[in-house]
Amino acid sequence: MTRTAKNEPPGVVWLGTPHFPVAARTAVGDPQLRENLRRATTTIRSRRLAAVGELDDWEDLRTAGAAVKRAALRHLDTHLLRLEESVERAGGTVHWAADAAEANRIVTELVRATGEREVVKVKSMATQEIGLNEALSAAGITAYETDLAELIVQLADDRPSHILVPAIHKNRTEIRELFTTTMGQWGRPAPENLTADPAALAEAARLHLRERFLRARVAVSGANFACADTGTVVVVESEGNGRMCLTLPETLITVMGIEKVLPTFADLDVFLQLLPRSATGERMNPYTSMWTGTHDGDGPRDFHLVLLDNGRTATLRDTVGRQALACIRCSACLNVCPVYERTGGHAYGSPYPGPIGAVLTPQLAGIEHAPSLPFASTLCGACYDACPVKIDIPEVLLHLRARAVESKRGPLPSPEALVMKAAATTLASPRALAWAQRAAALGGRVLARRGVLRRLPGPLARWSASRDTAAPPRETFRAWWRRTHRRPGQ
C-alpha cells in the first residue's frame, strides 16, 4: 500500500502521491486490489445504467444540471454572499478560509471553544483535502470517522481509494481481521467470534460507534449542496451516521468548498435526481438531510459553515478547466474508467481519484505539482458520457496536458513545450505523445535533487519554499502502461 501521507508536510496531505505512474505500478501489481476493484466497478456500473435508464428525461436532467452549475460558477461571488446572508439569518455563522491551513485553524479554534477534545465526522472530501484530522490531532483533538468505509480506512491507518466507497480496495476478510485487531484501541471492541459476513461487520460498526454518537458534543461534516436563497445545506448519505452527526451534537461545523453553492433551493429538483442514480445506482439514497441554520429544540444549537477556497478560485480563473468545479462527486466517472479500474484510487495521490481527480487535483494544487495526472487517461471519453453534469473531462485533460508542458517554461529550456507547441496535432499521434511525455519527465529531472524539487522557479517559489515538491515521474504513464500491460502475444 502506498503510504506517503505521513511524510508530507502538514496541510498538503492531499498531495500524497502525485507520481501517478509509480503509484499505479504498485497497484497494478496487487492482484487482490485489482480483483476487488474490477468486481466493484462492474457491479456499480450496471446498477447505475439501470437507474439511469429508468428516466426518459435523463439527458435533459444532465443538461439542466450542467447549466445550473456552470451558471452558478459564473456568478460565484453573488451566490456566496447570498448564502452567507441566508445562513446567518437562519442562526448560523459563516467563516471564509482562503486555504487549507486557515480552514484547519478555524475548525480547530471552533472545537477548542467548546472545550471538547473529540469530534465525530461524516465523510467529507473537503476535510480530507485539507488534512483536517491531522490538524486536529496536532491540537490534541481526536476526530472519529463514522462512515463505515471511512472507519475502516481510519482503523487501518490507510487512505481512501474511491469517492463513494473509500474502502473498495479491502475485502471482507481483511475488514474482519482489521475490526478484530483494532476496534478495541479506539473504543468498544469488535464482538467475539466476529465473522466476515458484511451484515456482521456492519453490526460491529453500529455497536462500536453508537456510544460515540450518544456522547458526541461536536460534529464536523461536509456538504453536498448549499442553497444560496434559503441557506439550506444538504448532506446525502446511506448509513445514518450523517443523521447522527447532524442531529445529536450541540455544535455542528460544516466545511464546504465554495463551488458547492446552488442559486436556489428549487435547483435541488435536478440534483436530487442526478446524484443518487449516478452515484450508487439507486433511485434515491437512504437518507438525505437538509437543515437551514439552526432549528429550535431540534439538532445543534450552534452551526458554523466554513467556506473553503484552497485553489478553487485559481481553478475558476481557467475558462476551460473551470468546469471541473461543477463536479457533484458522484464517482460515476471512476467506475467507468479503464485506468481507474486497474490502478485503484491511491495511485492518484489525492482524495480525488479517477478521471475527476486527474483534472481537479492538478488545478487545485497547481499543475506543476501533479504534472503526470492529466496523462493518467486513455481519453476514451467514457467519463464524459457518465458525468451527470456533463463535465468534458477529456477536453480538460488535453488542456491541462498542454499547461503541464507550458508550466515548465520560463527560465528553463523546455523541449517538451516546443514539441507540444509545434505539433499540437501530435496529441492525436500516440508515438509523438509518448515522446513528448518522456521529454517532459526528463526536463523536470534537471531541477531535481534526490527526486525532490527544492525550490520552484518564478511565481511558484513561494509555494515551494515551505515544502518539498515531488519531481515529475521518471517514467511516463504511457511508458509504464506499455511496459506493464503487454499482453501475451503482443
Binding site: 435533459d60 451558471a71 482562503a98 458484511p198 456492519a202 448509513e239 433511485r283 485559481a314
Partner: protein
C-alpha cells in the same frame, strides 16, 4: 484584507470573462424544469418502490388504520414507543401494550436509544423513489426521534404521495429541518454488498392510509 474579502477579490478576478451585464438571476437557457411524471397509480408505485428498498409496506383504509397500526406494532411488541405530539389519536390502536414516550420534556439521547421504536407521521412521500420526507412537523417530532430507535413505523395518507422528486420539493418548506428516508439505513461499503441497517433504524414499516370509499372498492 480579510479572507472573505480576499476570496471575493480572487473570484472577481477569475471571472473577468463574464460580461458585466450577465445577471446572476437569469436562469440559463438550458435549465429546463424536470419533467413531471404522472404515474397511473402513484400509491401502488410508492408501495412497490418503498418495498424494493426493503421497507415493510401495509395499505389500509381510514377506518381500519388503527387496527393496521396495531398489527404492525404487534409484530415488534415494543415496550416503550416514541409517539410524538400531534400524532392522530384516531390512529392509535385501542389496545396498548406499550408505554408511550412523548418527548415532552425532551428525552435524552440515551433514553431515546433505549426506546424500542418510533411511531410517526411524515410531511409527504415520493412515489417514484419510494421516499418518505419528514419535516419535524406535528406527529413527527424532532429528527432524533426517528433516528435512534431501531424501528420506525411511519403512517401517511395516500394523498400525501407526490409523483416525483420535483413535485415533492415544491411541497416542502426549507425553513424546517428535512429528512428524506428511502428504506432502512444501508451500506454497500463492504464489497458493494448491500446491508440493511447500520446506524439509522434497521426496520422501517410504512402504513399507507387510503380514504374509506376507495378501500370499499378494493375490498368488496
Amino acid at each position: 484584507m480579510s479572507s472573505r474579502q480576499e476570496i471575493l477579490t480572487r473570484i472577481a478576478g477569475a471571472l473577468r470573462d463574464v460580461p458585466e451585464d450577465e445577471g446572476a438571476e437569469a436562469a440559463p437557457a438550458d435549465r429546463r424544469s424536470p419533467v413531471v411524471r404522472h404515474p397511473p397509480d402513484p400509491v401502488a408505485l410508492f408501495a412497490e418502490r418503498a418495498a424494493e428498498y426493503r421497507a415493510a409496506v401495509t395499505r389500509t383504509t381510514e377506518s381500519e388504520a388503527s387496527a393496521a397500526i396495531g398489527a404492525a406494532l404487534a409484530a415488534r411488541s415494543p415496550a416503550r414507543l416514541v409517539v410524538p405530539h400531534g400524532f392522530p389519536e384516531a390512529w392509535l390502536p385501542a389496545r396498548r401494550t406499550w408505554q408511550r414516550l412523548e418527548d415532552d420534556p425532551p428525552l435524552r439521547p440515551a433514553q431515546l436509544d433505549a426506546a424500542d421504536g418510533a411511531l410517526t407521521t411524515c410531511a409527504l412521500a415520493v412515489a417514484e423513489t419510494g421516499t418518505l420526507v419528514l419535516d419535524a412537523g406535528p406527529g413527527q417530532g424532532r429528527r432524533a426521534l426517528t433516528l435512534l430507535p431501531d424501528f420506525h413505523l411511519c403512517v401517511l395518507r395516500s394523498a400525501q404521495i407526490a409523483p416525483d422528486v420535483p413535485t415533492a420539493l415544491r411541497g416542502l418548506d426549507p425553513c424546517c429541518p428535512l429528512t428524506f428516508v428511502s428504506g432502512p439505513s444501508a451500506t454497500s461499503d463492504i464489497e458493494l454488498e448491500r446491508v440493511e441497517g447500520v446506524h439509522g433504524p434497521r426496520v422501517l414499516h410504512i402504513v399507507i392510509v387510503e380514504p374509506d370509499s376507495r378501500g370499499a372498492d378494493t375490498h368488496p
